[in-house]
């Protein structure tokens, strides 16, 4: 074939260069408040001037609606809305502000948030560069500079954030004294950040034990409550803005929300590269490297689980190997776009640990979730008799009353299951 010419249809956008590290403030959209708070602090220690955005007003959604395509998924809309709202607020010097977004490079639309955000910002904020945080070598001109040490710190931050979230959700619904769980959480976040400051963040066994102890010390009632798992598309699963404060709602409904760890998603992304080798014979070297990283992280996860078991107050986080095993019962681990096989895996693992009630949260029209979410429910019901799943679509116009009504239906069944026991 003859060598083809290249036609360039790209538009010019502001690039990120390393020197901006000292001049620019970087805005980060929020997804998980406590994880991101820890991450924000540790990035500051690295010399980045970062700020996690907290905006969650209706203006955020309206700005999102105005700036991205109608059919684009809800998470993108929320994120863009948060940026625009912040940039319009006058709080930032527009010549010296950048925004950061993660990119997985997977076969789902999420990898395209980056150009969509650029497009959304171009008209009003032509000088604000969009930074990509990715591990796939995308956007070489606008990538966040990643070092091995920073990667490691991020991994630890996620482990600690997970433990805090996990303990908090198991404490808050049962706290004897109102607000005690929140105090414990603030304490835990504070000493975790402190550990990073002192450079002692690698001592994860000590930090994790301290987190568990802090929460275990909170006085609890003996009440038995309905446990409800939250799974789904990563953003609406975790983000309060994305899921209309689902956790709060469940707690107000006298339930215990069970939100699986963020580390599971990280491990999922890593192991998919290993799976590509196994399924299709893709690059062996790449797979070997990823497998190594996986082993390191998984070993830490195992140790954390052991600590939970030893202490005994809390249900331990899921073991990722167990999740993989669960996935195999439902569908192939080849379903790797979006959250893919992780969704049914978590639903199965939840069912096996006494949480048959699940909210499967997804943005309206999320393609991978047709298959891994709604599509897998039937198989799960065949596997677990009590499985009680409600798939909820999140969307700028889907109303809270509609969503809550559906969740309440699931809760009514959940209460029956609980009473039966």
């Amino acid at each position: 074939m003859e060598e083809k010419q290249t036609a360039d249809y790209t538009t010019k956008y502001p690039l990120w260069d390393k020197s901006m590290k000292s001049t620019h403030k970087i805005l980060i959209p929020n997804m998980l408040p406590w994880h991101f708070l820890i991450i924000q602090e540790l990035l500051k220690m690295e010399g980045y001037d970062v700020e996690v955005l907290e905006g969650d007003s209706r203006t955020v959604i309206d700005e999102g609606l105005k700036h991205v395509h109608n059919d684009t998924c809800y998470p993108c809309l929320c994120v863009v809305g948060q940026y625009i709202e912040a940039l319009k607020s006058g709080r930032y010097d527009l010549d010296k502000t950048a925004v950061l977004i993660t990119q997985t490079g997977g076969g789902c639309r999420a990898s395209n948030y980056m150009p969509l955000i650029r497009k959304a910002l171009a008209a009003e904020f032509p000088k604000v560069p969009v930074l990509s945080l990715n591990f796939s070598g995308l956007e070489k001109n606008s990538s966040f500079e990643m070092t091995l040490s920073l990667l490691l710190k991020l991994a630890y931050a996620i482990f600690y954030g997970d433990s805090i979230m996990w303990c908090y959700n198991q404490t808050k619904p049962y706290e004897a004294e109102s607000g005690a769980a929140d105090v414990a959480r603030n304490v835990a976040v504070r000493f975790t950040v402190e550990a990073f400051k002192k450079g002692k963040y690698k001592n994860y066994k000590k930090i994790n034990a301290e987190i568990i102890d802090t929460f275990a010390a909170v006085k609890r009632t003996e009440e038995k409550k309905v446990k409800v798992g939250i799974v789904g598309e990563i953003y609406v699963k975790y983000s309060h803005l994305g899921n209309n404060k689902l956790e709060e709602f469940l707690i107000s409904e006298n339930c215990e929300p069970v939100v699986p760890a963020l580390m599971d998603f990280v491990l999922y992304c890593i192991i998919n590269v290993v799976n590509d080798r196994k399924l299709y014979g893709h690059s062996a070297a790449k797979a070997a490297l990823y497998k190594l990283v996986y082993k390191v992280l998984h070993k830490k996860q195992k140790n954390i689980i052991k600590q939970f078991e030893k202490e005994g107050t809390f249900e331990p986080v899921h073991d990722f190997e167990h999740l993989r095993h669960c996935a195999d019962k439902v569908l192939n681990q080849g379903v790797k776009m979006g959250e893919g096989w992780l969704i049914p895996a978590e639903m199965a693992a939840l069912a096996e640990t006494g949480v048959p009630n699940v909210v499967c949260a997804q943005p309206f029209g999320c393609l991978p979730n047709h298959i891994a979410g709604k599509g897998a429910i039937r198989t799960l019901k065949n596997l677990y008799a009590d499985e009680n799943i409600v798939a909820v679509d999140y969307d700028p116009s889907a109303t809270k009353v509609n969503q809550e009504n559906r969740i309440k239906l699931m809760l009514a069944t959940a209460r029956e299951i609980l009473n039966k026991q």
Partner: protein, 969 residues
């Protein structure tokens, strides 16, 4: 006591200590939830007094319960309680409410389901359709029982169904048949949308208002589910079933006196959770100034009772309304009408034309006439009008009359929204609303009626609203629940009216026009269409864009006026329009039948006029209209359809029969797998040809009803293969498509990649032996061989055979691609010789399927165009660099095809997009950018299971008119 507060009604039930229902009531609440509940409670107080354990249920009851502190029982749960009480042997229950639909499976694993946030098929939907037919639901029910046939109608959301129903009405299909079709659509929606792979069988209970009152709907359910009489239960207390359940559900709650309950409900206050906007007008003075300003663009009138001389007739036969205008040569209005179609536009027009002749008393000389709009073809042929013109052209003509320097026109009608930009005195780009984001005029009307008000009064209410509610900007179904929420929060009718006006405007600006700032829209804006006669909408529009706009006094008649102007400018010689005497004798008979021209067997309508002339509609190609088809020489879709099937040799295999479902990825990879299996000794059996029937065949296994139509059709293909007795079905899972070396990555879309997983999980007939879905990356040869060998070794297939098979497969694929490209060259050459325009109808490989593209290729050829596809030309385009991450194989083809189009004269592009395709939200903007950089028009057509070529035709004709215009310059 149980109180059920639904989206449209309130039901109250009282049960005594012996579990007897002693009181039940059922009333509509017209959004006055609190007041209605109180009225009903007072009735209870009067009849019984006393103390009650009470529970509230229902979609609008949640807020009431939260704020009054009374117990809440989820409505499906309430139904469940009542079912166990009264029908312990029921196997399943179907409940349709005002805006909800639910299914409860009782035996064989209890399960309760509700419609998702995007689902019509409910009471409100039926009401909406009845409004469209200009009858009430009871009358519709009565008609439906006399139906002879049903038409396919989408019921996923009201907007879709409307665009199915409207053409049927315009084409003169019988109301009886339409009514029955609507009910059938509701049933189909319930079966596919709610049952999601689970069959509804055994003793089935039917609940809720619509199912209680509508016999036709019951009949459709019973027939579709194939229930015997004793298995279909229609309880007497169906409308109040939920409130009965809630009453039983409150057993165990503490009893309280009726006065206390009333007091608690009375104490419920409006919450501040709803977001509100600014009032439309500060005061009456501001409104008066506004009205005065817009008066300036009113046309003058001439008195038809005394006028003598020439005149011109313009008719706009729209989707819900008919507009007719008669003007003098100096553009004074002699006569005008803006009428509802009342289901049959032809009758309306004949009637009014007669009136024109009568009023004119022989003094009028009709010099010309023109027709535009949905009903253009029918009306033009019925009254022998001189011209039929595309709506967009008509509107432009009219707008120019009022504002010669107009650069932007927006027209919001009853059903559709059209916007066009004008550059250098010609239409530069056209934006039409997609079926999904309608929210147009008839939508406000439906709401007004739901609140028991006429549209005029309803919009007047909004003018002085203090706190217009923010309702978001999306489709009707969503809007319904947003309104529901606002009502729940206590917003008044005025606030809702103003909020709806602003929603419509936002929809237009941000979703249809897709403007990021008001400046993009233009400087000299003309707004028109019946909806803009509503001052609240007009004001919202001006407020939103921050500019004053021109709204002619005849805003609703602009299409007709433009048509009349066109007739005036272009008429030479005598008019052919029916004269007074001919009109008197005018009669017609409408008959629906199936065309036998080809295997598609389209539903067609034949209207025979009194003088023997015939008008045929509903046909997808010329054959239906009794014409000879345009030569397939200029249509690559026709060529590809034949060529693809030739990739299967049809050899009998000694090792068994493999079924290949011809849908999604198989439309691209059939050559590979046909070659592979035939070489390895299997006979290849293809699934049945796609059709609506095939879709229904697999509908019960569809797990996610918002997936794209190609995916949902796949379920039918699988069923057909299972019925054809193949040994196994083969459908690989492929994260990666073939790498064509023109993109960053080469993924398949998630649906194409993993749909086999969903099929297997949701079809109980499939198992590990009869459904093979290996994970394969065809770029990795040796791994693929290994994988396939591990599967087929048990059939005695050697590794050698696998290698040969794949080699043969790829040879066939290469040959197939080569032939398509050659054919494309041929068509391009021929088109150039004939001076024909070429359209690249660009989509995905599976858009080749006629059931999916609805024969748009044939429509294009019938308009005299040559048709190519994206895969036939993309290699002629350069490798493109785009802003978005270019990581899907099929998308990369789209970009390159667009590049080819951008660089060639006489070639244009129409992009086909399947509804629900999330990835195309990204590609469409990019393809548009590529085309517009070189000044080409971008046209997108969204396709779904609905089959409404009327709208598509208007779009394509507008596009052609614009192309012609730009070439003239």
């Amino acid at each position: 006591m149980g109180i059920d507060v639904g989206s449209t009604t309130v039901k109250v039930t009282v049960v005594d200590g012996n579990e007897n229902v002693i009181y039940s009531s059922y009333v509509r609440h017209f959004a006055r939830v609190k007041e209605t509940v109180l009225d009903e409670l007072k009735k209870v107080k009067k009849s019984f007094g006393g103390e009650y354990a009470v529970s509230i249920t229902g979609s609008a009851g949640l807020g009431l319960s939260q704020r009054s502190g009374l117990n809440f029982v989820q409505e499906v749960q309430a139904a469940f309680i009542a079912i166990r009480k009264f029908y312990p042997d029921a196997d399943a229950a179907v409940e349709l409410g005002g805006e909800d639909a639910k299914i409860i499976f009782i035996t064989g694993g209890t399960e309760q389901r509700m419609n998702g946030s995007c689902a019509g098929g409910t009471g409100a939907f039926i009401d909406q359709m009845a409004t469209l037919l200009n009858i009430d639901a009871a009358k519709m029910d009565e008609l439906s029982l006399k139906a002879e046939k049903t038409y396919p109608i989408a019921s996923r959301c009201g907007v879709f169904a409307k665009s199915d129903v409207q053409p049927l009405i315009n084409q003169g299909a019988k109301k009886e048949d339409i009514a029955a079709s609507i009910f059938q659509a509701v049933v189909d929606q319930t079966v596919s949308g709610l049952a999601q792979g689970r069959r509804i069988k055994g003793k089935v209970l039917f609940l809720g208002g619509p199912l209680y009152f509508l016999k036709g709907l019951r009949k459709a359910f019973v027939n579709t589910l194939k229930l015997t009489e004793e298995n279909a239960l229609f309880p007497e207390n169906a409308p109040c079933f939920m409130s009965i359940g809630a009453a039983f559900g409150s057993v165990g709650e503490a009893a309280q006196s009726i006065d206390e309950i009333i007091k608690k409900i009375e104490s419920v206050e409006e919450s501040d959770e709803i977001v509100t906007g600014e009032p439309l007008f500060k005061d009456k003075q501001e409104y008066a100034d506004f009205v005065k300003r817009h008066r300036a663009t009113d046309l003058k009138f001439a008195d038809i009772a005394s006028y003598k001389g020439d005149c011109y007739i313009g008719i706009d036969s729209g989707s819900t309304t008919t507009k007719l205008i008669v003007i003098t040569p100096d553009c004074r209005i002699l006569y005008s009408q803006y009428l509802s179609n009342k289901g049959q536009p032809l009758d309306v027009i004949i009637d009014k034309l007669k009136e024109v002749y009568r009023l004119g008393g022989g003094r009028l000389k009709i010099c010309g006439s023109a027709v535009t709009g949905y009903g253009e073809d029918l009306i033009k042929s019925a009254i022998c009008a001189d011209f039929g013109i595309v709506e967009t052209v008509a509107h432009f003509k009219a707008a120019m009359h009022f504002k010669p320097d107009v650069d932007f026109i927006i027209d919001i009608g009853g059903q559709d929204m059209k916007c066009f930009k004008i550059k250098n005195g010609a239409i530069d780009s056209i934006m039409l609303n997609e079926a999904c984001s309608s929210g147009c005029g008839s939508f406000i009307q439906t709401f007004a009626r739901a609140m028991g008000m006429e549209i005029d009064k309803f919009s007047q209410e909004g003018l002085y609203a203090k706190h217009p509610v923010e309702l978001g900007s999306r489709c009707t179904v969503f809007m319904n629940s947003a309104v529901k929420q606002a009502q729940k929060e206590g917003a008044g009718v005025d606030d809702i009216s103003a909020g709806l006006s602003s929603s419509i405007v936002k929809n237009a600006i941000y979703k249809v026009i897709r403007a990021t700032s008001p400046d993009e829209i233009g400087e000299h804006i003309v707004v028109q269409g019946g909806t803009f006669l509503n001052d609240a909408v007009l004001r919202s529009f001006e407020k939103e864009i921050g500019k004053e706009v021109t709204r002619p006094g005849i805003a609703g008649l602009m299409g007709a006026f433009g048509a009349a102007l066109y007739a005036m400018e272009n008429k030479k010689g005598e008019t052919s329009t029916l004269g007074e005497k001919q009109l008197e004798k005018f009669t017609y008979i409408s008959k629906s039948t199936n065309c036998n021209g080809c295997t598609s067997k389209c539903n067609i309508n034949i209207i025979t006029f009194g003088d023997g002339r015939k008008f045929i509609s509903g046909n997808k190609c010329e054959r239906g209209a009794g014409l000879k088809p345009v030569s397939a020489d200029t249509d690559i879709y026709a060529y590809k359809q034949e060529r693809l099937l030739k990739c299967v040799n049809g050899t009998k295999g000694k090792r068994g029969k493999v079924g290949l479902p011809l849908q999604l990825g198989m439309y691209e990879q059939l050559p590979v797998w046909a070659g592979f299996f035939e070489t390895c000794g299997f006979e290849v059996v293809l699934s049945d040809k796609s059709s609506r029937e095939l879709y229904f065949k697999g509908q019960h296994t569809v797990a996610s009803d918002t997936a794209c139509y190609p995916a949902k059709l796949m379920h039918g293909h699988i069923e057909s293969l299972l019925d054809n007795g193949v040994d196994f079905i083969f459908m690989p899972c492929e994260s990666y498509n073939l790498d064509e070396h023109c993109s960053t990555n080469h993924y398949n879309c998630p649906v194409v990649a993993y749909y086999p997983e969903l099929l297997k999980a949701n079809n109980e007939r499939l198992n590990d032996t009869n459904f093979l879905m290996p994970y394969i990356d065809l770029n990795m040869q040796s791994n693929t061989v290994k994988k396939l060998h591990s599967i087929f070794a048990k059939y005695g297939v050697k590794k050698r055979d696998i290698k040969d098979g794949l080699k043969e497969g790829f040879t066939r694929l290469e040959k197939y691609h080569g032939d398509i490209k050659n054919k494309a060259d041929e068509i391009l050459k021929k088109a150039e010789e004939d001076g024909r325009q070429v359209i690249v109808l660009a989509g995905r490989p599976y858009h080749l399927d006629n059931e999916i593209n609805h024969g748009i290729n044939k429509l294009l050829t019938s308009l005299g165009l040559a048709v190519l596809s994206e895969d036939s030309v993309f290699e002629k385009g350069d490798i493109v660099k785009v802003d978005v991450l270019n990581q899907w194989t099929y998308h990369a083809r789209l970009y390159r095809a667009a590049d080819f189009v951008a660089k060639h004269k006489n070639v244009n592009l129409v992009q086909l997009v399947s509804f629900g395709c999330g990835l195309d939200a990204i590609t469409t903007d990019e393809v548009r950018t590529i085309l517009e950089r070189s000044g080409k028009l971008y046209t997108q057509i969204k396709i779904d299971e609905i089959n409404n070529l009327g709208v598509v035709k208007i779009r394509l004709r507008s596009m052609l008119a614009a192309i012609e215009e730009s070439q003239r310059r």
